[in-house]
């Protein structure tokens, strides 16, 4: 964030804050509880987790045996883990693009309305606030193979019924649909903020410059100006989708036959069901590494976000 950098530079040159002439002891006192918690609940556990990933520790055992990169070697040879990784990426590839496009579509459509903007924003944002676990129950019933309203609808239209969570083919897509439903409204709000930031007279200038059709103005003005927001929404949606856990834990438990095994759920089972802490830690390290890549991309995107202004 360049703005922050320049500010801190100018401050170090000429200290303007009165705090500088006060005893820094006050500042340490103010920060101490947070620093303590930061060390105890974030830093130390992460260090321990990384160390743990080089052991074969199982919960309940008394001794700890170092096995080097044994856990990692085993992970990538493990078909279950590879499947979980693959499922997670497939899930992200379904959720992120669809929720971003749907969010953009909703935001643009609603922004063009002269009446009812508030009403639609309310409707589409409602799933964002709903408790995922509760809504997962509803969706499970909704898509139920025999008694679910969705299938009753298909049958009444003379179509074959679909057992979404009963078969391997559609289970992951079914979970993705739930996430798209709950994420689209979130993305819509971010895009709406981006749209209101487009100055009105830019559209007027575009009209003067010969962009007569809505489509011309959307392509030449709206879309390029939403570019930075779009990048940002893509990254946050990717991160959100990557952390999928609740729906898997409630609806499918990773099934049927591993079709919805995802990274966090597999790690959870490994650590807290089978209590194989060592290999669970190795999985967590892989998960954290991927998160760090996303975070790095996000930071780059944030840099670009300031660029136009």
């Amino acid at each position: 964030m360049p703005a922050d950098l320049t500010q801190s530079v100018s401050i170090s040159r000429a200290p303007r804050r009165l705090g500088a002439i006060l005893s820094p002891r006050i500042a340490y006192g103010l920060a101490a509880p947070s620093v303590l918690l930061l060390v105890l609940t974030v830093m130390a556990p992460i260090m321990m987790m990384i160390l743990l990933s080089f052991t074969s520790y199982k919960f309940g055992e008394t001794g700890i045996e170092w096995i080097g990169i044994g856990n990692y070697a085993q992970l990538f040879g493990d078909r279950t883990f590879r499947r979980a990784l693959w499922n997670t990426f497939a899930y992200v590839l379904m959720v992120a693009p669809a929720s971003v496009l749907l969010g953009l579509f909703l935001a643009v459509l609603i922004d063009g309305l002269s009446k009812g903007q508030r009403f639609y924003r309310l409707i589409f944002f409602l799933p964002v606030t709903a408790t995922v676990v509760a809504m997962a129950m509803v969706w499970k019933y909704l898509l139920h193979g025999t008694i679910g309203p969705f299938n009753l609808l298909l049958q009444s239209l003379g179509l074959p019924s679909l057992d979404v969570f009963g078969g391997r083919d559609l289970a992951l897509a079914g979970l993705a649909a739930i996430n798209i439903w709950s994420l689209a409204g979130f993305n819509m709000v971010l895009f709406a903020a981006g749209l209101t930031a487009v100055p009105e007279d830019l559209y007027e200038a575009a009209a003067m410059d010969g962009m007569d059709s809505k489509f011309d103005r959307f392509l030449n003005v709206t879309l390029p100006l939403l570019g930075p927001v779009t990048m940002f929404v893509i990254v946050t949606s990717t991160i959100t989708a990557f952390k999928v856990f609740d729906t898997v834990a409630v609806i499918t438990h990773g099934g049927p036959r591993g079709a919805t095994d995802v990274l966090l759920y597999t790690t959870y089972l490994e650590g807290f069901s089978y209590f194989r802490m060592g290999s669970a830690a190795a999985m967590t390290v892989v998960f954290l590494a991927i998160m760090m890549v996303f975070a790095w991309i996000q930071a780059r995107v944030l840099d670009r976000k300031v660029h136009y202004r």
Binding site: A27, I123, F124, P127, K243, F245, M291
Partner: protein
């Protein structure tokens, strides 16, 4: 006001599309509520009916409150997300104030650690935290359910940004008036930054009310279950047969946040999306 791309036929088409999508988006909520008030026999009729044939009224709601400890889950939800929020505010606000308005050695390092921790989800420190809590015999307590969230680096980051824009002159005037730093922070600066505090509070309560992962790790007994955990546990143990009671319970446990949202839409939207906008 008169953005040139607003004209009538397009308006009508937009409304048609949006109303259709709105219907799809609302359908799960409708199913949840209508299922909670219809008799189980109707569920197995091979045809979807919009309204219940026999209205069961509040029967399942009473059942959810009486037989299943829905009220206990609600209470736990309030205690845990409320407790987390209070400690988060008490620790993050002073730290953010120090980062925003003081110069001290290690400040940049501390802020760098805060920025790094922003990207760390709860799942990363979960295993060692579980082991540590187990070692001190704290598994299956409120404390265990709350402790990983006592520190909110997001709150520190957010409040630091807010406090930085708070005018130094007012703080200096308060110092000249003889107020202590602690008093300045809580009686001068924080009241001036209430919108940020409110937005963060909504964000925090929503996140922890809805969280399933960590309660699943550390909570064992029914008495301590949070709404999502209780719901998930109940769904599994009933093997999903009693849909009426399940939907009634889902309605009860989702209701507090939904009502909050309907009452304070703008604050909610701001609070929940602030991770994205900032």
């Amino acid at each position: 006001m008169n953005r040139p791309h607003r004209f009538r036929p397009g308006q009508i088409l937009s409304h048609v599309i949006l109303l259709f999508l709105a219907f799809l988006f609302m359908f799960p909520f409708y199913v949840m509520i209508v299922t909670s008030v219809r008799s189980p026999a109707e569920l197995f009729v091979p045809e979807f009916r919009w309204l219940p044939e026999s209205f069961t009224g509040l029967r399942y709601y009473i059942q959810a409150v009486a037989d299943i400890p829905a009220l206990t889950f609600l209470k736990n939800g309030v205690l845990i997300s409320g407790g987390i929020l209070i400690v988060q505010l008490l620790t993050a606000i002073p730290c953010a104030y120090a980062l925003a308005k003081f110069e001290f050695r290690g400040r940049d390092l501390l802020f760098a650690l805060v920025l790094f921790s922003l990207t760390v989800p709860i799942q990363a420190p979960a295993l060692p935290l579980f082991l540590g809590l187990n070692a001190i015999g704290a598994i299956d307590t409120y404390f265990a359910a709350m402790v990983p969230f006592f520190l909110s680096v997001f709150a520190i980051f957010l409040f630091r940004q807010t406090f930085r824009t708070y005018p130094d002159e007012i703080i200096q005037a308060a110092r000249l008036d003889g107020m202590s730093e602690w008093a300045i922070l809580w009686t001068v600066v924080v009241p001036g930054c209430l919108p940020s505090v409110a937005a963060f509070s909504i964000f925090s309560v929503t996140a922890h009310w809805n969280d399933l992962y960590w309660p699943m790790v550390v909570i064992r007994s029914n008495d301590l279950m949070t709404p999502p955990l209780g719901l998930a546990f109940f769904a599994d143990s009933e093997s999903g047969a009693n849909y009426g009671a399940l939907m009634a319970m889902a309605t009860i446990l989702t209701a507090p946040l939904m009502i909050g949202f309907l009452l304070a839409q703008r604050h909610f939207i701001r609070g929940i999306t602030m991770t994205g906008v900032k």
